[in-house]
């Protein structure tokens, strides 16, 4: 988003859809990305509870949670994980067919209704995949709230297609 707008140009925000053709070759160790923000709503938590079937009182009983040390309902940890994944796809180039291999994740603090999250990510490693034409990218991710507090962090590994051997 660097550079100043020029007269006559249409201003636009970064595309929501991942850019076409992003590949293993386009990512370099040390590359950093910052996602847009997203405010976590009550609706997000209700939908996630319904979808996952996780109705833990932590996420669903507003009255009981008033008596907890959080004072209110908090988001499911895995909702935070899911939201950061969506946020980062809006900031980081990715192929349409990346394959998730695994992740290591820490939940550092609560996410409350009304909190606005964003993700910072860094390419931490690149190596060959087992299959020719693919590479493995390790990405460190940090999920921060509106006060800059770290709420979740971890690293993910994904298979990304190489440009050199991609079909045209």
């Amino acid at each position: 988003m660097a550079g100043s707008p020029r007269v006559g140009r249409v201003l636009s925000l970064p595309a929501v859809e991942p850019g076409p053709g992003a590949a293993f070759d386009d990512l370099n160790v040390g590359d950093e990305f910052t996602s847009p923000g997203r405010t976590v709503t009550e609706a997000d938590i209700v939908i996630f509870a319904g979808l996952s079937g996780d109705y833990n009182v932590l996420h669903t009983d507003a009255e009981l949670m008033k008596t907890s040390r959080f004072g209110e309902r908090i988001a499911h940890g895995l909702l935070g994980l899911a939201l950061q994944q969506g946020l980062l796809t809006r900031a980081m180039p990715a192929g349409g067919d990346d394959v998730s291999l695994g992740l290591k994740w820490k939940f550092r603090g609560p996410i409350k209704i009304g909190d606005t999250l964003h993700v910072t990510a860094r390419v931490a490693g690149k190596r060959d995949g087992d299959a020719p034409g693919w590479g493995i990218v390790t990405i460190e991710r940090r999920v921060l709230n509106q006060r800059g507090e770290l709420v979740q962090e971890g690293e993910t590994e994904q298979l990304v297609r190489r440009r050199a051997t991609s079909p045209p």
């Binding site: 997000d44 979808l51 833990n56 040390r69 994980l81 899911a82 994944q85 695994g102 992740l103 939940f107």
Partner: protein, 150 residues
């Protein structure tokens, strides 16, 4: 703890028996699951029948509430390591198997390492990993008290 909270039976740290596997009921992954998840997360896969890798993981939490024992008294989901071994497709029917691997008592509760596997209708292992959970002791004064969820 309120009377309402006390009314919900829980498995506390002391009650966890290591090595005993619990298998959940199964659930068929539908286009609706994928569309709801895509809308919630804000990332829509190009192939509408491709199941996002973390969706089965998210659903295994709720499936874990449907085993023949009360839910764990989880104070905090501290972290986890996870492997995605095979992709899931719309129409696949997944179930999850969990067991306690290790536990370590702390002052206010205890840390439980849970191994969880997700299998499809052919019995193929599609995802697995280890979850680190902070679980309340029976005497804990303020359940619920912390982060996470299962």
């Amino acid at each position: 703890m309120t009377e309402r909270a006390a009314a919900e039976a829980k498995v506390y740290f002391e009650d966890v028996v290591l090595g005993v596997p619990f298998e959940t009921p199964a659930m068929t992954l539908t286009e609706t699951h994928v569309a709801l998840f895509a809308g919630l997360v804000g990332a829509r896969p190009a192939d509408p029948h491709a199941v996002p890798a973390i969706l089965p993981l998210c659903m295994s939490s709720g499936l874990g509430w449907r085993v023949p024992q009360p839910p764990l008294a989880v104070l905090a989901f501290m972290g986890f390591e996870w492997k995605f071994l095979k992709p899931a497709r719309v129409g696949d029917t997944i179930r999850s198997v969990s067991k306690g691997l290790a536990k370590r008592g702390l002052k206010e509760g205890g840390v439980l390492i849970e191994e969880r596997s997700i299998l499809n209708q052919r019995g193929e292992l599609i995802e697995m990993g280890k979850l680190t959970l902070l679980v309340a002791r029976r005497a804990s004064p303020d359940v619920p008290a912390a982060d996470g969820g299962r």
